[in-house]
Symmetry: C2
């Protein structure tokens, strides 16, 4: 098993000004392809600490991903300290300099002089192809002559030749490796320190994400000698707790006897993500292994699966409505607009989303949907929700209306404070409804009700029963 470590650097992360989501992102991405992080270190923009961290990781790990410290300011020390740790010189990487100048030129700006620092790399850093697949150029002294190796792709060659002042002082041996950053000026790079291979990455999340997926993970997989084809299959569900789903899915991994299917979970209330990681010799092999397991998971979780892979609950609901030229009105109380806020701003929602009304008092709900005559006292029932959903639909001429009404327990917030949720979905010809009680404090009830509302609508649109008992529900 390859020993992988992560080093995060930067005062903003070390002081807690920024929550370190880059680390969890990297670690999850590696897990998804069957690689595991052993150790993580965070240090600030401090030469001595960073040097120490690099050397320590170099003694323990086979591969290290370093995140941050690649920016243009004097605080950004990664290249410099990496060179020190590897006991080599810093040299200008001309190709990257040209890339940066181009980056600024495209934005009609002149590159500030301090950005030049971002193109200074440790001499032994290995140059890597950029993501469009062409060889990156490097310069090298052989005997007395200075040789310039340039890429075969014309526009990259041109860029190097046109670099202002022809600053071609770079000396990069054939082992230097640049990790391309197609969307920013910080250049990533890879380098050996001690016995470990280090990967240096920028702190800007979207730049990190792209670099990690397109360039670092494939290198790690190659280095680990693992079978290269890996597939991650994800199922999203609402209503079943992690231990319940774990029990329901007992044994699915064994449907593929060679141990190449791994089951995992990620709970983020109210949803649960169920993950299958499948390794194989090639894509065909992974597909073949995944098929029976995938089928079994769908069978066992059944109606509780709300979407798969990158699809979201709100996306499924919108698509379900759009496919039948439908439209939607929403009525909310304690959820306070959070149901509408999940849907109504999405691209394409303007064609489907009709209107939402939010009010805390039932009388106000009635007034808003044109039910002025109704009595706003007494216990909240499914019938109340049904009447409200019907009225909202009639009023707005939407094909579907969802009403989620909540009777919240009195008193201060506490762990056993609950809410009774009555929800209804009305169409022109029918109405479906359910009543549920959730305990767990104000936020738990509110978040649970948002998800329940959307998920019942998803069920309705998929012709599934709107009511099935969920684990969060109390009798």
């Amino acid at each position: 098993m390859m020993r992988i470590e992560i080093i995060c650097t930067g005062d903003e992360v070390l002081t807690g000004k920024i929550v370190n989501t880059n680390f969890s992102y990297i670690s999850q991405k590696l897990e998804d392809v069957g690689l595991s992080v052993r150790w993580e270190t965070t240090v600030g923009d401090d030469r001595e600490s960073l040097l120490r961290a690099l050397r320590l990781a170099g003694e323990r790990a086979d591969a290290v991903i370093v995140n941050g410290g690649l920016g243009p300011t004097v605080d950004d020390l990664s290249q410099e300290v990496a060179a020190q740790a590897a006991r080599v010189e810093l040299v200008l990487n001309d190709e990257w300099l040209a890339r940066m100048e181009e980056f600024f030129r495209r934005r009609s700006r002149v590159m500030p002089p301090n950005n030049r620092k971002q193109a200074m790399l440790p001499a032994t850093a290995e140059v890597i192809d950029n993501p469009i697949g062409t060889a990156c150029g490097f310069a090298l002294d052989i005997g007395q002559a200075r040789f310039f190796f340039t890429p075969g792709v014309p526009r990259e060659l041109h860029r190097m030749l046109e670099a202002p002042n022809n600053r071609k002082q770079a000396m990069l041996p054939a082992t230097a490796e640049v990790i391309d950053n197609p969307i920013g000026t910080a250049c990533g790079f890879a380098l050996d320190i001690g016995q470990a291979r280090f990967f240096f990455t920028p702190g800007v999340p979207r730049e990190l994400h792209r670099m990690l997926e397109e360039q670092i993970i494939p290198r790690l997989l190659a280095k680990s000698g693992m079978q290269t084809a890996i597939v991650l299959k994800r199922f999203h569900s609402y209503g079943l707790g992690e231990s319940h789903v774990d029990a329901l899915l007992r044994g699915v991994e064994e449907l593929v006897p060679d141990g190449s299917v791994k089951l995992g979970f990620r709970a983020h209330y109210p949803q649960l993500e169920t993950k299958l990681t499948v390794r194989g010799t090639d894509t065909e092999d992974t597909r073949r292994k995944l098929a029976p397991v995938e089928r079994e998971v769908r069978k066992r979780l059944g109606n509780f699966i709300l979407s798969e892979d990158d699809a979201t609950l709100e996306g499924v609901v919108l698509a379900g409505l759009a496919s039948r030229q439908g439209s939607l009105s929403i009525v909310e109380t304690f959820t306070s607009g959070a149901i509408a806020a999940r849907l109504a701003h999405l691209p394409g929602a303007d064609k489907v989303f009709c209107r939402a009304v939010v009010a805390r008092a039932l009388g106000e709900v009635y007034a808003a949907v044109g039910l002025e005559g109704a009595s706003a006292t007494g216990e909240l029932t499914r019938e109340t929700a049904e009447a409200v959903a019907r009225a909202a639909r009639r009023q707005t001429h939407a094909t579907h209306a969802l009403a989620v009404l909540i009777d919240l327990d009195d008193g201060a917030d506490r762990i056993d404070l609950g809410g009774t949720i009555c929800l209804a979905i009305a169409t022109e010809h029918e109405v479906a409804s359910r009543r549920s009680r959730i305990l767990g404090g104000r936020e738990w009830v509110r978040l649970g009700a948002v998800e329940m509302g959307l998920d019942c609508l998803r069920r309705y649109l998929q012709n599934l029963p709107v009511y099935e008992r969920i684990d969060f529900e109390k009798a």
Copy 2:
């Protein structure tokens, strides 16, 4: 300067299943009292890694806070590995055992046997007073006799005496230190390993938070020999960027010439937090030092300060309405219910919040507020927003109505996609409005508009101009 390190332990954190907010929380809390973290390490539920991490930190640091690994399962290794690192035995801490049994008894449950593990502590762990300030009990062999030292507070004494089976096998020398956890069963503890003092804390955030603030930070401050009185003053603003506020506040720290006031920022778009940390010999001293700086910050940031310390924008708006027996209706378009969702669920909001209407199409907005005759075509203007706000107020009989209407640029999401925001606030006798344009993509526009809507309402309620140019605005 005291060298402080943090060690986070747990597979859920190391694999990225959980984002490590505990670390940023601890680090920020320490920063707020003038202490700095030098180094952070994350390891999994792995004996060898944890032992290595403890020993390495013990060589580098003066104090170490260890988070996680104190639970009842076999995965939880902190006590055991800490004992190994300190080369001492694990012994049962009887007082904590009693506390746990009490904890379960109060919930009418019997303590499961594996929870007993949570009361096993390294022999040299020092027992610390619990947060209500009484001495914690400990047992000790002196000569041939077993002595039981018990706390003076009756209910704590009783609890120890009543512990079932009178399991008093603990042997804790006078240096053992328990860090009280008033709300959970995981017991924190402190211990020296190498030259550093280690503080072991549970991974459950709310348990960690309470332990950190009430017990660990005071000990760290005492150990650091720093002047003990420290005050943190926070200002929240909307509309000015970090570098702008930094420039506006240049020199405020120097109003107190001895360097005991430190200025810092935390940007979380769309809001910015400006922090003043003041050190002094005592509370009076810090108050005296803070006063002129605080006054100057208020003067320079002026109308842009939306709240101070723990107060939130939505809380200020709600309080402003409640204090004048006011009520509020909201009309939203692209913000999709997110403005209402900030307010309407808060405790007390049911008295103030009247109704919100969300629609993406202007015609639907008109229909919802009873402006059926109005034309829903043509450019969005301040007058449109004014008419909508007036109509919404009339319709719902609220004292105040806020309308935030947005005309979003066409096309796919991109970094320079913008939105034109027309917002209006209507009362019975007047209407105030503004028009602004924000660029930065769909989410940037949406989040900015939510904050602008709430902040303009705050300004209106505080008799400040609803329009003042903000940094996020484009001409």
